[in-house]
């Protein structure tokens, strides 16, 4: 069965356990090589669309709970509503698009792929990202990009306090106001090439672009221990 004539599978959360939903999707992929799935009546249930493999295109028709599309393994997951904590957490690859808002730790520790939150993202968006791209159409809460190691975050709205705190590598672009930045954050100029790349990215995901961006990167001062900082460490620990 080819992808094009593969009919959409509609699954109802009202009648199926989460484990059964995932089993049915995996069975469809194993049989047909791909699966287009609509999940109805999600009612903010947790752990929906977790660890979905490549070939799955899952649309969740409403709000999802915690860890939606967590451990994503290459699938595309669209969520027609908001999500709770840990959206797409530790995603290996794939695409996750949320129409509404995301709670704490959206795209935490993702390795690759793209996460799009059209609304606002709460605290610690993109914490410990190891690659990939996080796009937030609205604002981000405190400590976005905390200890980020690689990858890219694009925030079209405002960024709350502590953004980019202690990040190792990676790049954060912010369209709106920036609160008190985190430790060891350096602002760099946005090159024309970067600007073009970001605008193309936002256009692709149909996220309205702000007039300008600021670019935040790591100052790399925390990479190595310096004896001169000993008193700081002592007071911190």
């Amino acid at each position: 069965m080819s992808t094009t004539d593969d009919p959409t599978l509609t699954l109802d959360c009202d009648t199926l356990a989460t484990r059964e939903i995932h089993r049915l999707i995996r069975a469809r992929v194993a049989e047909a090589g791909s699966a287009r799935v609509r999940l109805i009546h999600p009612a903010a249930r947790h752990n929906l669309g977790v660890a979905m493999p490549e070939g799955v295109h899952l649309t969740i028709e409403g709000p999802a709970g915690y860890y939606a599309a967590g451990l994503n393994d290459g699938s595309t997951v669209e969520i027609r509503g908001g999500v709770g904590w840990g959206l797409a957490e530790s995603m290996r690859d794939g695409t996750v698009v949320v129409d509404g808002d995301a709670a704490n730790a959206a795209a935490a520790s993702i390795r690759a792929g793209t996460v799009v939150v059209r609304g606002n993202a709460s605290t610690r968006a993109g914490i410990a990202m190891k690659g990939g791209t996080l796009i937030v159409g609205g604002n981000v809460g405190p400590a976005a990009g905390f200890m980020m190691q690689k990858g890219r975050i694009v925030v079209c709205g405002d960024a709350d306090d502590g953004i980019a705190d202690s990040m190792y590598e990676g790049t954060i672009f912010v369209g709106g106001r920036i609160g008190q930045p985190g430790s060891d954050v350096v602002e760099e100029d946005v090159s024309e090439a970067e600007r073009g790349e970001i605008l193309a990215l936002l256009e692709r995901w149909k996220v309205p672009a702000p007039a300008r961006f600021r670019k935040l990167v790591s100052g790399r001062a925390l990479w190595n221990f310096r004896k001169a900082d000993l008193h700081v460490w002592k007071s911190a620990l």
Binding site: A43, A44, R45, H46, P63, G65, Y66, G82, G84, W85, G100, D101, A103, N104, N120, S122, T123, R124, G141, P142, D160
Partner: protein, 306 residues
């Protein structure tokens, strides 16, 4: 882990009793904590000058001799529900909440006061939210707002008295529910005990009510006292306050614990997990996570929408 819920009605005419809404939310969170369940509700109409008191006691009889010198008690209205007894007391002029509680606890009756107030009722027990309904019939409770709790005990005893909500002892009509851990509890407790405050349990969550009461005694408003607590309390905490003034929602500065809030023209609803809101309150509404370090009081006296 624990689960907390809160609901404030803004319509005046309620399609469903507030008790039923809060119970449905609690049942959705039941697996967050099977150790105990409880609900505190602010009733619609106050019985002016009459305090409704609920005490926990396994004794079948109700000995109120220890408070009879402080006001008029109505033995006829006294009812037993589960391991609690509820009765009314019309205090003599000048009698304080503290005097009543002290008399009940230390005056020979040896009772634990679960709640006291003109408008507050508070029930809790070991077990699930469904068991709470079986004992107290909370689903028919009417009132503008209520809070609830399912408990996963980590440090203190599993019994009725250590379950939540907690009445803010000494403060009529105010109760709290808490999810998290107050890490400077012992320090705060020593501080207050030096000043003569008597703690009713060993549960760290009890200190929130003690703190709020202290701030109010010092002339702070409830919402200011809640804001003050962001600095005074250490650790992880989301807590809710039920008061005739409104529904209080407080998140610690780091947002350690999850909390989701829906605010519409018809209601304000809060829960540890959004699925509790979706189960109890059908409809199309936005649910967001409040900013860490926020203390907000949703007033109870919002006029009904036309």
């Amino acid at each position: 882990m624990c689960g907390i819920v809160g609901f404030l009605d803004r319509q005046g005419h309620r399609p469903r009793p507030t008790g039923r809404v809060v119970l449905a939310m609690l049942e959705a969170l039941g697996r967050r904590g099977p150790g105990g369940a409880g609900i505190a509700l602010v009733r619609d109409s106050p019985a002016h000058g009459v305090w409704q008191i609920r005490v926990s006691s396994k004794r079948p009889d109700l000995d109120l001799s220890c408070v009879e010198h402080l006001g008029g008690t109505d033995r006829e209205s006294a009812t037993r529900q589960g391991d609690t007894l509820k009765f009314t007391l019309t205090p003599d002029p000048g009698v304080t909440v503290d005097e009543i509680e002290r008399a009940l606890v230390l005056g020979g009756c040896q009772l634990h006061v679960v709640c006291l107030g003109e408008r507050l009722d508070l029930v809790k027990q070991v077990g699930s939210p469904s068991a709470l309904e079986a004992t107290y019939g909370v689903s028919s409770w009417q009132g503008p707002l209520a809070i609830g709790h399912t408990r996963m005990s980590t440090e203190s005893r599993i019994d009725l008295d250590h379950s939540q909500p907690f009445w803010a002892h000494g403060l009529a009509d105010v109760a709290t529910v808490h999810n998290g851990h107050i890490t400077n509890y012992h320090k705060l407790r020593r501080h207050y005990e030096h000043r003569g405050v008597r703690f009713a349990t060993d549960n760290d969550s009890e200190v929130i009510g003690v703190y709020l009461r202290d701030r109010l005694d010092r002339g702070r408003t409830l919402v200011d006292a809640m804001a003050d607590s962001l600095d005074a309390l250490d650790g992880s905490f989301n807590y809710l306050v039920a008061s005739p003034e409104g529904l209080g929602v407080v998140r610690d500065r780091h947002g350690f614990k999850p909390l989701m809030v829906a605010e519409t023209g018809h209601f304000v609803a809060v829960a540890t997990e959004e699925q509790a809101l979706r189960k109890a309150l059908p409809g199309d509404y936005r649910v967001v996570e409040p900013r860490p370090g926020s203390a907000r009081l949703y007033p109870a006296d919002v006029p009904a929408l036309v």
